[in-house]
Symmetry: C2
Subunit: 347 residues, 2 copies
DNA sequence: CGATTTCGCGAAAACGATTTCGGACCGTAG
DNA sequence: CTACGGTCCGAAATCGTTTTCGCGAAATCG
């Protein structure tokens, strides 16, 4: 437990005052080049590390943004968080992650003294304060930005999920065939989630309704897991003959559908036309048509909004809505690329 | 931006000195009951929230433990983190989570001033400092506890993966049949992972070798995903006739194997005997035999070790190794329960 | 050359909590 | 009545950093 090196120590070593050292460290202009170097040399030599607690104490800022999100680990959140994290880091902010693993944890986080509120601002990903907090008020008086969720009173970044789904569905309906939507089970919604899948559902419905009503359309609900997609298709194929159209409400489910179709020896893009949502990095390899969701942009916009709000706390809420793009690949236009064979090594 | 309520304000409101308020808040004994109540009333009335930065600044403690882990989102880490978080919370500590999403992030975390080191201690889950940090030294001089990884110089909590795998394999080998291990692809190992799958591989090998050598044994490597398990079994079934024994290196893969077997109309537990590792909550529903890994215990032990080290920084490293238990269910003893049919709602 | 501005620097005052230590007060024992 | 011990409380020091403000020296100007 050796004592920590303080500004004092550095100042003494460099033969200057503590304020000068502080100025050097914070890039103030009124320091002569020669002294700046001398100070930096001392900093290095003594391995000085500024005491963050003291700094935040003094400034009242933590240079940290807390990010709430539902159970994470999905590619969506991995990419979103990475984007947010990168954007914040380039402005000298840190992102502190708070996945809401379970109700108990959430409960702790409803207290104003909980760790997450020890930050300069909050980002809520796929979460709505109205659902999360009893009185619809954040426990602490921090500025907040919502990503993948809308709220009139906060800055938000959203993606037009309904329009994306409609885009995909209309594209599928260009071929006249029984058309199915594979959705995530409803119980996945609730406290922990925003309504993205509900929106996608609506978009599907809407596209179907504004189309030739004689086509058969149906919605299936499955667990959030590629297996879900596979089972859904298997079930459909037991009742219907190809060709079929399938709108999968996310690429993960779409992958399951593709897998199952392949397993049954069907031609992707001909017998079974599939469109997903997300445009995950692997969707291209799979030849999967999909609705591109600009996740990285959502993340960087969120960071931008946070920074802007920190700079101007009083400004009116801003809302950024990102538009979906339909990316047509083999899975919906015939001649889908073959599924790459996974090499398996035998002992 | 209303000014924050300070100890001073409370003291004034309650007609006492600041030190008295502080004592009340920190549970010191030398405060009369009547004043204690008066102070608490003022605290509530003014909605006083202690300034954490000021507190950590003064005490030098943050009451926070940073937890590093690989990309998360798997059930293993969800459960582990939950357990750690709960245990710490009950001792007035917070857990701050740092999933190592990508190299860039890790790189930032190699700097001693990075956010994770703004804590009283570190927990590394499935991570080894020797692999993670260039000079095999933590960037900051914090006590650290390793979970699911071993290191002589740190407190560790481990699980005997090799023995678990051997247990499972020996159990499978009670029935004389071609025996397969489904492992996670090697590229999953590396900076971000500990060697658990390597250990399980070794355990399998060892069990096979100390058994009748005439039985056919083989190792398959697949992606970490239920689909991987399914594909592995499909591949094996193209070359071998049932009955088969399959050791899946985790329940997730085992689920894939079970799914595929069902799909092919085979009897789980008779035609295909499967044992997984983890004993995830859903393994029971699946009738999956498995090696139980006491994840919650690992978490609480980790928290315990952290707390102990914080109390006695100088003590010698302690190592806790948890033993695997074989849980035999239908998937390895015949008469496996039927897979529950997933209800799918039609529009 | 004197007057004024600019530059470089340091002394000192915060920031909000914890903790030490002595003092006031009260009750009880000698 | 005096001494003493215990209980309860508050004044003040302290933690490491940022930031303001003023001072002296140097540079620039008229």
């Amino acid at each position: 437990m050796k004592k920590q090196v303080t500004l004092q120590d550095v100042a003494q070593h460099a033969q200057v005052g503590t304020s000068t050292v502080s100025k050097v460290l914070n890039g103030y202009p009124d320091v002569a080049e020669s002294t700046r170097e001398r100070v930096l040399a001392s900093v290095r030599e003594l391995e000085f590390r500024p005491n963050r607690a003291a700094r935040s104490f003094r400034t009242g800022k933590t240079q940290t943004v807390s990010v709430f999100m539902p159970m994470i680990g999905t590619e969506f959140y991995d990419r979103l968080i990475t984007a947010i994290d990168d954007a914040l880091a380039s402005h000298d902010y840190d992102a502190a992650l708070f996945p809401l693993l379970n109700e108990k944890r959430l409960e702790r986080y409803r207290s104003a003294e909980a760790l997450p509120y020890q930050a300069d601002a909050l980002i809520l990903a796929s979460l709505n304060p109205d659902w999360l907090f009893a009185d619809a008020r954040l426990p602490a008086p921090l500025p907040a930005v919502l990503v993948d969720a809308y709220h009139a009173e906060y800055d938000t970044v959203t993606f037009d999920n309904a329009r994306g789904a409609a885009l995909a569905t209309s594209h599928l309906l260009e071929v006249n065939a029984p058309t199915f939507a594979v959705m995530v089970e409803r119980f996945q919604e609730g406290t922990f989630s925003s309504g993205v899948f509900i929106e996608r559902h609506k978009g599907f419905q809407h596209a179907v309704e504004s189309h030739d009503p004689r086509v058969h359309a149906e919605v299936l609900e499955v667990p959030f897991d590629p297996t879900g997609g596979a089972e859904a298709l298997a079930q459909v194929l037991a009742r219907f003959e190809p060709p079929l159209n399938v709108f999968a409400s996310c690429d993960l489910l779409a992958k399951g559908v593709v897998d199952e179709a392949r397993r049954q020896g069907l031609q992707i893009g001909l017998d079974v036309r599939v469109v997903g949502v997300d445009d995950q990095p692997w969707a291209e390899d799979l030849g999967l048509s999909t609705i591109r969701q600009p996740i990285e942009q959502m993340g960087s916009h969120a960071a931008e909004l946070v920074l802007a709000r920190l700079a101007k706390p009083g400004a009116a809420p801003r809302h950024i809505e990102l538009e979906p793009t339909l990316v047509v690949r083999g899975s919906s236009e015939g001649g889908g690329q073959p599924h790459p064979i996974r090499p398996t090594q035998i002992n």
